[in-house]
């Protein structure tokens, strides 16, 4: 193999395929005319292509095999792979919209329906703290018209002192405790 054969190398193949032009074409044409080995290779390239196209024939596939494949494709085609893009499904959209509408109606009803102004409510609760039981009173103050509610825990012993209840441990005066939530709490 001559030096020029090595230099031209891939261009000889491209020449066989008619894929070169200009100066490259002129050079390869001249070389091939003078070089028997490259001339033979150009002819071989064409015969190889012909052989790949004509002689290399895949084994036949029976019609029933194709039919079975088509059935499988149709069945599998409907099953979308994971991670695919979201697609429009009318039934799903209707179900979602119905749920959202119902939730909105409930919320609206809760806000709009008339309610009686709430009065302060008081609850009594005895909480055991430490070794000695201590009486506490939990006072819930619910403001009317949906305002803020407040919970106050009042130590009954302190309250008794403040309100001068005569009998310690007895039932406290509930109205008195509820009337002044800011004072007396701990």
């Amino acid at each position: 193999m001559k030096n020029e054969c090595v230099e031209l190398n891939e261009l000889v193949s491209a020449y066989a395929d008619g894929e070169i032009s200009g100066a490259d074409l002129e050079r390869v044409e001249k070389h091939v005319a003078d070089c028997a080995e490259c001339r033979e290779f150009v002819a071989a390239c064409r015969r190889i292509d012909d052989a790949v196209r004509a002689d290399l024939v895949p084994p036949p596939v029976e019609d029933r095999r194709w039919d079975a494949m088509l059935v499988q494709l149709k069945a599998a085609g409907g099953q979308r792979p994971a991670g695919r893009k979201w697609r429009f499904h009318p039934a799903r959209v209707i179900a979602f919209a119905s749920t959202m509408a119902a939730a909105c109606l409930l919320g609206l009803a809760f806000v709009m329906l008339p309610r009686e102004p709430e009065k302060p409510v008081e609850y009594g609760l005895e909480i055991e703290a430490g070794a000695e039981p201590t009486d506490y009173q939990v006072v819930m103050i619910a403001a009317p018209e949906g305002g803020l509610s407040m919970m106050v825990i009042v130590d009954i012993d302190d309250q008794e002192e403040d309100t001068e209840v005569e009998k310690p441990g007895g039932k406290p005066d509930e109205k008195e405790a509820g009337g002044k939530p800011e004072s007396g709490e701990k």
Partner: protein, 207 residues
């Protein structure tokens, strides 16, 4: 491959333009009947492509099924510029190359360095290396060709097949395989060098 032969190969797969356009529009809308028509029209050609890259019937059929399945599922995203056949062929080629690579595993394919060495070996020495027992009578070219092709890497075999079988130009192959035209030229040349050496008794003595 001559331009005339390439043109015939392409024309054999083509419908009239309006018919094809209408069919593809139906296919994009997800019409099963349109898919069925496209499958029937192109299944053999896609199978031939896959088989020529893989060299195995069952694997080639698996690739055909997978390629059409992907086409079926991706119907809405199909763009008609390149045509349905070229689109599915590209899927099938990529699937086939992946399979050849997986099959070879760690074993490196016959690369260009090896082929370059072969290129420099004198023709007489190459002939001497051939086992006379392996020499078969005429009509066995296909078998010898298959054997020689099995020694090529998947990319080399694919380039050769796209050029010889499908009649694609270097530029079209470069687009199909996402590589530069120079790479196409190089792969095709080395694939032919190897085949010319292996099939010398079939293709080298006629001049």
């Amino acid at each position: 491959m001559s331009e005339e032969q390439a043109g015939k190969a392409k024309a054999s797969r083509a419908w009239s333009e309006p018919a094809e356009r209408d069919l593809l529009a139906r296919f994009r809308r997800g019409e099963e009947k349109a898919f069925e028509e496209l499958f029937t029209k192109y299944r053999e050609a896609i199978y031939a492509v896959a088989w020529k890259v893989l060299g195995d019937r069952e694997e080639a059929l698996d690739v055909v099924q997978e390629a059409f399945l992907r086409a079926f599922r991706g119907a809405s995203g199909f763009r008609a510029e390149s045509g349905f056949y070229a689109w599915v062929r590209r899927i099938a080629v990529n699937l086939s190359i992946d399979r050849v690579r997986a099959r070879r595993g760690e074993q490196a394919p016959l690369e260009e360095e090896t082929l370059a060495e072969e290129k420099h070996a004198p023709a007489a020495a190459r002939l001497a290396e051939e086992d006379p027992a392996d020499r078969v009578a005429g009509g066995e070219l296909a078998e010898a060709l298959e054997e020689a092709l099995s020694e090529l890497g998947a990319e080399h075999r694919t380039v050769l097949m796209l050029h010889a079988q499908e009649g694609l130009s270097y530029k079209e192959i470069a687009g199909e395989m996402d590589c530069p035209i120079g790479t196409v030229m190089s792969r095709l040349h080395y694939a032919r060098r190897l085949l010319a050496g292996k099939l010398r008794r079939f293709v080298g003595d006629e001049e």
